[in-house]
């Protein structure tokens, strides 16, 4: 089997693109889980919502990509806040498993609604004009849009890391994760913080969805398989550290891309296989703290 260098590099880049989505989604999951104690199964559905809203904007109201990149996360974030206020807030006292079941129900509702509106076939979404084409970087042609996805995702992840680890707001957030009642006693509005955190987490998912719209086929079911891979990513990385989720996400994307080159049959399962190995060797996850 011969693998040409350009083919290898282009799969590597595609792997990084997927890895960026894994990173942003697992980051959102980790932040939400930290503060709410809820594993947001609906994350994949909200990712899909971001992409489909971008498509709707382009198709019905001819709103361009750049506006949707901002607007779709805001809309989905607002939707998330409504979910948090009306539904999630009622189950914080219960076993975390109920959070998973509730968000599973929400996933079925959201995906079912979009499926009855748009079916299961792909909705075409064009790459924005500004980022069409490719740039030659000497040894390969670098597709502009893919490079943009990776760059902006890494930037967003780093900004999130900075926000949580280095700012005062982030300090409140981390304190709220450790001991919400004590933080509340210091006069910080924890329920508001929880609400905004959920909104922020799902907005991140929607942002990834808009970024994905030109590279992954937009369909109402596009988040379904993705969320399961992201769960495996979270198990591998552990939800303890932000940098951990980001690195694990990107790394697994790259590994998946390489598997596509060398052994395509295993490309859909390689992340799960890695999860098995990690569970055997280091059950707490690569960056995990708890047992």
């Amino acid at each position: 089997m011969t693998v040409t260098l350009p083919a290898l590099l282009s799969q590597l880049l595609l792997g990084l693109v997927n890895g960026s989505f894994y990173a942003m989604l697992s980051l959102g999951l980790a932040v939400i889980f930290g503060l709410l104690g809820v594993i947001n199964f609906a994350h994949g559905a909200l990712f899909m919502m971001g992409a489909v809203i971008a498509w709707m904007g382009a198709t019905y109201w001819s709103i361009n990509y750049w506006v949707m990149l901002l607007l779709a996360p805001l809309l989905v974030g607002a939707f998330g806040i409504v979910i948090e206020r009306l539904l999630l807030r009622r189950i914080y006292r219960l076993d975390p498993l109920y959070g998973l079941l509730l968000t599973l129900g929400l996933t079925l509702l959201i995906e079912g609604a979009f499926r009855s509106a748009y079916g299961v076939s792909g909705l075409g979404y064009d790459t924005p004009e500004l980022l069409e084409g490719a740039t030659s970087v000497g040894f390969m042609m670098l597709p502009n849009y893919r490079a943009w996805v990776v760059a902006v995702s890494v930037a967003v992840c780093l900004a999130t890391w900075f926000l949580i680890e280095k700012t005062r707001l982030g300090a409140y957030l981390r304190a709220g994760t450790e001991n919400p009642r004590l933080v509340e006693a210091f006069g910080i509005n924890v329920p508001l913080m929880v609400m905004l955190t959920y909104g922020f987490g799902v907005a991140l998912a929607a942002f990834a969805g808009v970024l994905a719209a030109p590279v992954i086929q937009v369909t109402p079911l596009m988040g379904q398989n993705l969320i399961i891979v992201v769960f495996a990513v979270v198990v591998i990385g552990g939800m303890g550290s932000i940098m951990g989720s980001v690195l694990t996400g990107l790394g697994l994307g790259v590994i998946e891309g390489l598997t596509k080159v060398f052994y395509p049959e295993a490309s859909s399962t390689v992340v799960f296989l890695i999860m098995v190995v990690v569970l055997l060797v280091r059950p707490a996850g690569l960056f995990g703290k708890e047992a």
């Binding site: 539904l87 109920y98 998973l100 959201i110 499926r115 495996a232 198990v235 399962t269």
Partner: protein, 328 residues
Amino acid sequence: MKKLAPVAYGLLLLALLAAPFLGAYPVFVMKLLCFALFAAAFNLLLGYTGLLSFGHAAFFGGSAYAAGYAMKAWGATPEIGLLLGTAVGALLGMGFGLLAIRRQGIYFAMITLALAQMVFFAAVQAPFTGGEDGLQGVPRGRLFGLIDLSNDLTMYYLVVAVVVAAFALIARSVHSPFGQVLKGIKENEPRAVSLGYDTHRFKLLAFVLSAALSGLAGALKTLVLGFATLSDVHWTASGGVILMTLVGGMGTLSGPLVGSAVVVLLENKLGEIGAGIASFTGLAWFNTLGESVTMVTGLIFVICVLAFRRGVMGEAQALATRWMRGGR
């Protein structure tokens, strides 16, 4: 309550035995029974051990394929198919269990889901599963090489016998000392550890038992309907069995039976229910209800989690207890 239960189960069994003569469509009741067994096996884990597996579709669907392949390609007799299905379920359960038990709570659910997704992709890619079409036209064959099962009525009584036996096994396990330890683990695992129980072994055993019986249910389903498809191994099947258990009442013996009946009826008859509501209320929109099974399922999930966590049988038991206290 305690005295009432045997009477209720006796009546249910009588109804099952008489059902084909009372106008029930045997194939539908058989399908229902397969899912009832699946849900009861799942409840052994969720309701009695407190472990939420999100990967039971792998055992159900994996065994459905294994049994179907053995009967179709090797011409295995039905009892061999069922045994093989159970064994495949148990083996898969062993593998899943050994890995997933290393983590707890929410991680346990995510790991089982991811492992089951591997089985799903295996079923998509493997040469013997028939890919998107699934395994079609599995013959029912002759039980022990003697009894022809192509007759729906014969098949029906075999299914009733198998499901009742498996359900009796579950009931026995739950009430045995083993079942008591499982409940202890569910309530307070550290305490069970401090009492000297090897909780990992108990959890693994419960997991394997649950997976084996789910496998039996899957193999039985293939035998009855004659096919195994990707929807049997898809994660939505795992979601479905969670819903059945939740609706019926986790941790109650009879809950999964009620829950599976509700969910299977809903999935099969939602179109008719919708048409009924439409003619009753005059709202044409309800005619399209049959196409939105996913949404209705999601809605039931949300309602159950928010307001109906004890499920039908859990609520019934609570009501009965209150009523008996009031009567005294």
